[in-house]
């Protein structure tokens, strides 16, 4: 049996009967990576030899099942470079809280990190210093971004499951492009300690998995209050697997009118309509709802996210760690190091953010964006008084061609139009496979619910998954 093709929960079932060493699973993954990753580029620094010996506890709940980690989550003494030249060779002296938790649950941290847009700036993984990740369903297409590497690795069985991060859709959009499950938890549900910040008020770590069950299983491990993250929230973590046992009879599903607009791909729309009929068959009540401030989400997002990013990325200056161009004078050291260390998109966002925070512009841009963000959040608060969850497409289109949007940042930014609002409002959202286009590209469906109601999101997703086959179809590579 090719162990790499299994999910974590399937492996756990298997381990109950047969003893399977962590190393066995890793060997299968390594073989798979050797075979196909030169085509996909889901992992970075593959030439690197890593000393796999570690003090990890493989006796815990996960029995040494390997998990793949996005390159912006700190792993102790394992290079964490955010796929940026400026962090070249950065070895974190500490583990992110999620990594600590995974290790304590007996997970094996896979020694290769997954590809991403530099500092998570992008929707296609084309902005990686290590080159783009290709879509396992069509190598000419993007895998989505910024967690494109994690999504492509999971979709192509180069990983059992993975962690991604989501600031404006970076887990959900690549999950939908690659035909896998991606969950963005509520802001504050999972500790950000050790996540190299892009936009601190929006960033969330979450699972990218082959099915909904694995997402619930992984969330059970990584969720929870962390005293090291002042923005994490101290409320009890339920057993998310339990929520999967419940059906969705009588559940009220809202379909936001604003998400079915011009620019929405016809095939995506058709898949969504089919999905809605599945929900109805399962006894859910579907109705149209309104999120009137949706149209401002992209604008608000790009003001807030870039402002925070411009400050978060200031620390990459070549002084303490990472890439440095030696200069006699301090200012030119800063300029040369940052000028050559950051890629095009990173520079664009730093400049945008620096501009919107500048004296005299702050009120007109940043402060105003914060106010509109509150309006967007209020929209959701209102709508969740009426319905239990919302169902929308994850992205207006299926995966696009590599190179198609990279020279048009505005077009690229619009591919996050359906995912951004969840980050602005801080609410949980999942993307699950709901069909394919005629060209055999996966289509994703997004389910959103109120803050800390991941149970609802997972429950609705699981019921859909159990009554459809989309998640079982694998790309041919």
């Amino acid at each position: 049996m090719e162990l790499n093709r299994l999910t974590a929960h399937q492996l756990l079932e298997l381990i109950k009967v047969n003893s399977i060493e962590s190393q066995e699973i890793i060997s299968f993954l390594e073989k798979r990576i050797k075979e196909i990753d030169n085509k996909l580029n889901a992992y970075v620094r593959k030439d690197r030899t890593v000393d796999v010996k570690s003090e990890e506890n493989t006796e815990g709940f996960l029995k040494g099942i390997p998990i793949s980690i996005k390159d912006n989550i700190c792993t102790k003494w394992l290079p964490t470079e955010c796929c940026s030249k400026i962090l070249e060779g950065f070895l974190p002296p500490y583990d992110a809280t999620v990594i600590e938790k995974l290790k304590s649950y007996g997970a094996k941290i896979f020694p290769l990190k997954t590809n991403m847009d530099e500092f998570a700036f992008g929707s296609s993984t084309e902005n990686s210093y290590f080159g783009p990740t290709h879509n396992p369903w069509n190598l000419e297409c993007v895998a989505g971004g910024s967690s494109g590497g994690s999504a492509a690795a999971v979709a192509s069985d180069e990983a059992i499951f993975a962690l991604g991060t989501d600031t404006g859709g970076s887990i959900r959009q690549p999950a939908s492009f690659c035909g896998v499950v991606g969950l963005k938890p509520t802001y504050g549900r999972v500790s950000r300690y050790g996540l190299i910040a892009f936009a601190s008020s929006l960033d969330v770590i979450g699972p990218i998995t082959k099915d909904v069950y694995d997402s619930a299983l992984l969330l059970n491990i990584i969720a929870g209050y962390d005293p090291r993250d002042s923005t994490s929230v101290n409320i009890e973590v339920p057993d998310y697997l339990k929520a999967l046992n419940l059906d969705i009879k009588g559940i009220k599903i809202g379909i936001p009118k604003e998400y079915f607009v011009e620019g929405l791909d016809k095939q995506v729309k058709e898949s969504l309509d089919e999905a809605i009929s599945v929900f109805k068959k399962l006894g859910a009540e579907c109705r149209e709802v309104y999120l009137p401030h949706t149209e401002y989400a992209v604008a608000v997002y790009y003001i807030i996210a870039t402002a925070e990013a411009s400050s978060n990325l200031a620390r990459f200056d070549g002084i303490q760690y990472g890439y440095r161009i030696k200069q006699k004078n301090l200012i030119s050291l800063y300029k040369k190091t940052r000028g050559q260390g950051f890629g095009q998109e990173a520079k664009r966002r730093i400049i945008l953010g620096t501009f919107t925070l500048a004296h005299g512009y702050y009120e007109a841009y940043y402060l105003r964006a914060l106010k509109v963000r509150t309006l967007i959040k209020n929209d959701f608060d209102e709508v969740f008084k009426e319905v239990d969850c919302l169902v929308t497409p994850t992205s207006p289109t299926p995966a696009f061609k590599i190179g198609e949007k990279i020279r048009d940042p505005l077009k690229m930014y619009l591919s996050d139009i359906f995912t951004i609002s969840a980050n602005l409002a801080g609410i949980p959202a999942i993307s699950i496979p709901c069909g394919f286009t005629k060209n055999n590209l996966p289509i994703g469906l997004q389910i959103l619910s109120s803050p800390f109601n991941e149970e609802m999101v997972l429950r609705v997703a699981y019921n859909f998954e159990q009554n459809t086959v989309w998640h079982k179809i694998k790309p041919k590579l």
Binding site: F90, I196, A197, R228, T231, S311, A314, R315, D317, L357
Partner: protein
């Protein structure tokens, strides 16, 4: 034309919490470079700040003591600028919602009158690291980086350099009373910048503001301000314009010099730090803090004046440090002779402590043991010289007075028979002095007392000895 100065002071004090403002690294001073650091204060990627609650508590104590209006909620902002001593290239500070606004500090003027100097705002921030420049390299020490720093900004209500000096003295006294800062300018735990402008006397409009930096003592602040008044007057009298600038005080040349102009005006691009939530300041907690505040220097002064009748510079001394005042009061409780106790503390005790280089805070001498010694002296069991010797011994060995006296046999000898015998001996041994005395040289008597004391190793009661000697010689 007559001018008047308008002065405002900006004081930064390091709070003496055990750990830094946003991580658990030690704040201890003087350790090897970069030994008190962690991913958080080094600003390593992925690390996050968590507010030190004690730092907030200390800061609130200061705000309460300076009669400020404490905000219902407070937030932290990022002050963005690039500098190698600032590892994140932003400082966590407070911009538009500082901890407190609008208080005052009461100071004593030279005339003895009191004046309230307004406090504009108080906010909490983190200190930066320290750059060390060698011949060919610049090095950074991040031990200091992240130590909680309180910025206390006065209103421009200080009228002259002496008032500024008094303001600093009173502020330091207050902070030390609260036990929230060492206020040691040499170690950098207190730093002061000044803003000064001149205007026509009586005018309501303000003149051009000059910022002064690099003053390393309170005296330097006073001197720099005096110099600036002199310099600005000269410029204004020539009908020239002053330019708004930052000037550095050069203590050697005793002049201020313009700081090298920055390339352009700094824009710190303040915005709320998304890593730290808004903090609601709990009213109950605030009440408890207020109740826990110690008696502050001014109140204590008034009470000591009333209760113990201590005045003037003696009063200033006794309340100058909370530890001294507390020690004094503990002693008076046991032995209600404030004047005597004052003399013992301000005299022998302080000079011994100085010699041993111990502060009052470190003093282990129990007030009751100290009083025992004072009582032995007052009861004439010990001579003045011997009592001071015993005190020295007590501080060094931590033994009690009677134990030392017993061990060394230091009790004062007041036995008339012994002293008479001693007197006769001294008289027979010093015929010249005796005849000098008899021929009217009164001083010779003191010489004979001295000789007798020497013989008894200081233990004899000198007053009684003098009486006895005089009796014999006058016969």
């Amino acid at each position: 034309m007559e001018y008047e100065a308008v002065i405002g002071l900006e004081v930064h004090v390091q709070l003496k919490t055990k750990t830094k403002a946003f991580c658990s690294c030690s704040t201890e001073f003087g350790n090897p470079a970069n030994t008190q650091t962690c991913p958080i204060c080094l600003g390593l990627p992925g690390s996050l700040p968590v507010l030190n609650k004690t730092a907030l508590e200390y800061a609130l104590k200061v705000c309460l003591s300076l009669n400020c209006k404490i905000q219902e909620y407070t937030k932290f902002d990022r002050k963005n600028y690039f500098y190698p001593d600032l590892p994140k290239n932003y400082q966590i500070s407070q911009y538009d919602l500082p901890l407190a606004l609008g208080g005052f500090l009461e100071i004593e003027l030279e005339t003895g009158d009191r004046k309230k100097i307004g406090i504009h705002r108080i906010h909490l921030e983190e200190d930066a690291g320290k750059l060390i420049h060698t011949q060919d390299k610049s090095l950074v020490d991040f031990n200091r980086c992240g130590i909680p720093l309180l910025e206390i900004v006065s209103e421009p209500e200080i009228a002259n350099p002496q008032e500024a000096y008094q303001y600093l003295i009173s502020l330091k006294e207050l902070l030390k009373y609260l036990d929230v800062s060492d206020c040691d300018m040499e170690k950098g735990s207190l730093r002061c910048d000044a803003n000064i402008s001149l205007r026509k006397k009586g005018s309501l409009s303000l003149g051009t503001k000059i910022e002064l930096k690099n003053m390393n003592s309170f005296k330097a602040v006073r001197d720099a301000l005096s110099y600036e008044i002199y310099r600005q007057k000269l410029v204004l009298q020539k009908r020239k314009r002053l330019s708004q600038e930052t000037r550095l005080w050069d203590p050697k040349k005793e002049k201020t010099f313009p700081m090298r102009r920055k390339e352009e005006a700094q824009d710190y691009r303040y915005f709320p730090d998304p890593d730290l939530p808004v903090f609601v300041i709990d009213k109950e907690k605030l009440k408890m803090l207020k109740a826990s505040l110690p008696e502050l220097p001014f109140e204590k002064k008034m009470r000591f004046l009333k209760e113990y009748g201590i005045t003037g510079s003696e009063l200033d001394f006794i309340v100058s440090e909370r530890q001294i005042a507390d020690y004094f009061e503990a002693c008076v409780k046991i032995y209600p002779k404030p004047k005597t106790i004052f003399n013992w503390i301000a005299g022998p005790l302080v000079s011994e402590l100085n010699e041993l280089k111990i502060s009052f805070r470190e003093l282990k001498l129990n007030p009751s043991d100290f009083i025992e010694l004072i009582r032995m002296f007052e009861d004439k069991k010990l001579s003045n010289i011997v009592a001071k010797e015993v005190l020295k011994e007590m501080l060094r060995t931590e033994k009690k007075a009677n134990q030392i006296v017993e061990e060394k046999g230091l009790l004062q000898i007041s036995d008339k028979d012994i002293l008479s015998k001693l007197a006769w001996e001294v008289i027979s041994e010093n015929p010249v002095a005796v005849s000098d005395y008899r021929s009217g040289k009164i001083n010779a008597l003191m010489f004979l007392v001295g000789q007798a004391m020497k013989k008894m190793k200081g233990k004899a009661d000198p007053k009684l000895l003098q009486v006895i000697l005089k009796e014999i010689l006058d016969k």
